[in-house]
């Protein structure tokens, strides 16, 4: 009898354990304090934790081999019921573990090509947001020349560069200098080199620079401040970093995606689906706040018009992913 009671109690507590909502996030190689992409996610996670009082388990991977291990540990050892993977590098590992754990909800950011009934995928139309800040750069530029500093030379970053260059040229700019920081993951975290690249673009006549380079961007924004040129931040709103020389930031609302994913997972409504977030969904955009509203006041209407035109389909922004090349730079 006693044995049976204990077994029953164990079974009940086990069931309760299984139903308990346990969210987890696995950050990409850049680390959660990269002032940009991962940090954006972290802000969304933080907001979720603060609002709900639920602690989100987190992990920063430090090598390729660790990706699968990290997600698996979250599920198997910690009993996570909702796991959010950050970045396309996580795609294969996450898909594999999602297939093996159909009861666990998965989300992934920057990926839209996976199959899986329990994977929610968030892709962003980075080229659309980049187009807008390209227009802003053209309006603010006096020389008609602009710079772009990318992190690692990968398709995703070329997508940023391509939309930016197109917006810049459509709005009257003449030349865009595109430089990538490097060929290894270190390119996401090399502010010194980012600053040097921005400097060389200034020397060639650029007076606005857009950094889509993770932690490297910090150096780019600093270089612009030191030289009295304008800079455009990325992913998170970076306007506050150097008020006065920060023209704007191209927003990629990974924080909203992360927040929404955990919110939905908490109420148990996550279904496998691909969410493509563009200007229309306010998944991407440009940042106007108290730090830059005076700087952009004269052309704010132009950018809003460009946004409306893109949403309405009157402007077609070149998508590097589709074209696998870029006609604008």
């Amino acid at each position: 009898m006693l044995k049976k009671t204990i077994a029953l109690a164990l079974a009940v507590s086990g069931a309760a354990y299984a139903q308990e909502f346990k969210p987890a996030v696995v950050f990409d190689l850049g680390g959660k304090f990269d002032k940009s992409f991962n940090e954006g996610v972290w802000n969304g996670v933080k907001r979720f934790s603060e609002e709900t009082g639920i602690e989100v388990l987190e992990y920063e991977v430090s090598s390729e081999a660790e990706r699968k291990q990290a997600i698996e540990r979250m599920v198997k050892r910690r009993g996570a019921t909702a796991v959010l993977g950050i970045g396309f590098g996580q795609a294969d590992a996450l898909a594999e573990i999602a297939a093996a754990n159909p009861d666990v909800q998965f989300g992934i950011i920057d990926v839209n090509w996976l199959d899986g009934a329990n994977i929610k995928q968030y892709g962003f139309q980075e080229h659309e947001g980049s187009y807008l800040v390209g227009v802003a750069a053209a309006k603010a530029s006096k020389t008609g020349k602009a710079g772009f500093v990318g992190g690692m030379d990968i398709p995703l970053i070329r997508r940023f560069a391509c939309g930016y260059a197109q917006g810049f040229k459509d709005a009257g700019g003449s030349e865009v200098y595109v430089n990538m920081t490097g060929d290894t993951a270190a390119a996401w975290n090399n502010p010194t080199r980012g600053g040097e690249l921005a400097q060389s673009q200034f020397d060639r006549g650029a007076d606005v620079v857009f950094a889509a380079a993770g932690g490297t961007g910090v150096g780019v924004l600093q270089a612009a401040k030191d030289k009295g040129k304008l800079a455009i931040g990325v992913d998170s709103n970076q306007n506050h970093l150097h008020p006065g020389t920060m023209l704007t930031s191209m927003l990629k609302r990974v924080d909203v995606a992360a927040y929404n994913f955990f919110k939905e997972a908490q109420s148990g409504r996550v279904e496998g689906a691909v969410h493509t977030l563009g200007l229309k969904d306010e998944g991407v955009g440009w940042a106007v706040d108290e730090h830059n509203e005076d700087m952009v006041a004269s052309f704010r209407a132009d950018i809003d018009k460009a946004r409306d035109d893109i949403i309405a389909g009157r402007i077609e922004v070149n998508d590097y992913f589709v074209l696998e090349g870029c006609p604008s730079y």
Binding site: A65, Q69, R73, W113
Partner: protein
Amino acid sequence: MMKVFGVFARAGAPKMPYWAQVTVIPLLNIFVALALAGCVVLLLGENPFKAMAVMLQGAFVYPGGLGFTLYYTTNLIFTGLCVAMAFHAMQFNIGGEGQAIIGGLGVALFLLFVGDSLPLIICLPLAVLAAAAAGGAWAFIPGYLYAKRGSHIVITTIMFNFIAAAVLQYLLVNVLIAPGQMSPQSVKFAERTHLPQIHELLALVGIETESTPLNISLFLALAAAVGFWFLIWRTSWGYALRTVGQSERAAVYAGIDPARMTVQAMAISGALAGMVGVNALMGDAHRILLGFATGYGFAGIGVALMGRNHPLGIVLAAALFGILTQGGSELNFEFRNITRDLVIVIQGLIILMVGALSLMLDPPVARLIALVSRRKEET
């Protein structure tokens, strides 16, 4: 000769016995490094003993822990041997990273375009050879430049790391990228060319274990270590190489061509690093992707330093670094205040203690040992 050495030895400092040099000193150095790391953990507000326990359990006990530890160890044995091979020619090959990348490209291109059409029994050894040949060729060039033009190998090999990274990046982004997705990685290698992973082999004999990347490359690494020992200490080629490393002029006097030896040693060194591609790609990722070799080339320097360029020492040091990597990742996982950066701090402290400050503890320990043995004699 002894008189010459006497100038350098401090008057009265007793000589360190060999057994102590290879046992007591490395252990003490590790202990000091860990104690310092423990202080850092304490500063972060965590219990260092608990952290230590998590680290060791993570490396050995937790499900899959041992597999990951040995997987990292495999990569580090290859790169450690790579650095040591060049060291024996008195060259500092810090290009293990680039040689591993090109080795990986070698094995990947072979498996993607040639290997699948061959019978397995021919394909597998050829794939390993492709990795070795590609990595070896990448190190051959700096070796050749050194021999012919006197270009410093430290400079050329580190530059070649960047060239290798750029080549990999270019090929993955523009040529090899798998269609239908945006992550810079190739399509998967054909299923049958994947190296058997240890958990799959164990499952065959009925032992169920966690899936880990550990694969039969570990045995390849151990075989390479034995081969290394044989080559360096049991062949005339190895004797010639050590002669070149100890004294180039003596080597020339003995009729050995130092330039030729250096080029050959560099090529073998690169081939060893190239094997990382076999372990990481053929054994684990089953495709080629960016960043598969990141960090191993440079960690290999620490491994070789700590292993004192002897294969046995290198295997042990590689295991230690493997433990630190896997155990460190568990630390990061278990403690909120401990990030992955701390693991790098611990590794740095160990390299500092074992490499740069390895002589710091020598005199006091030698004096202590002398004191103890004198007491024994007296009683």
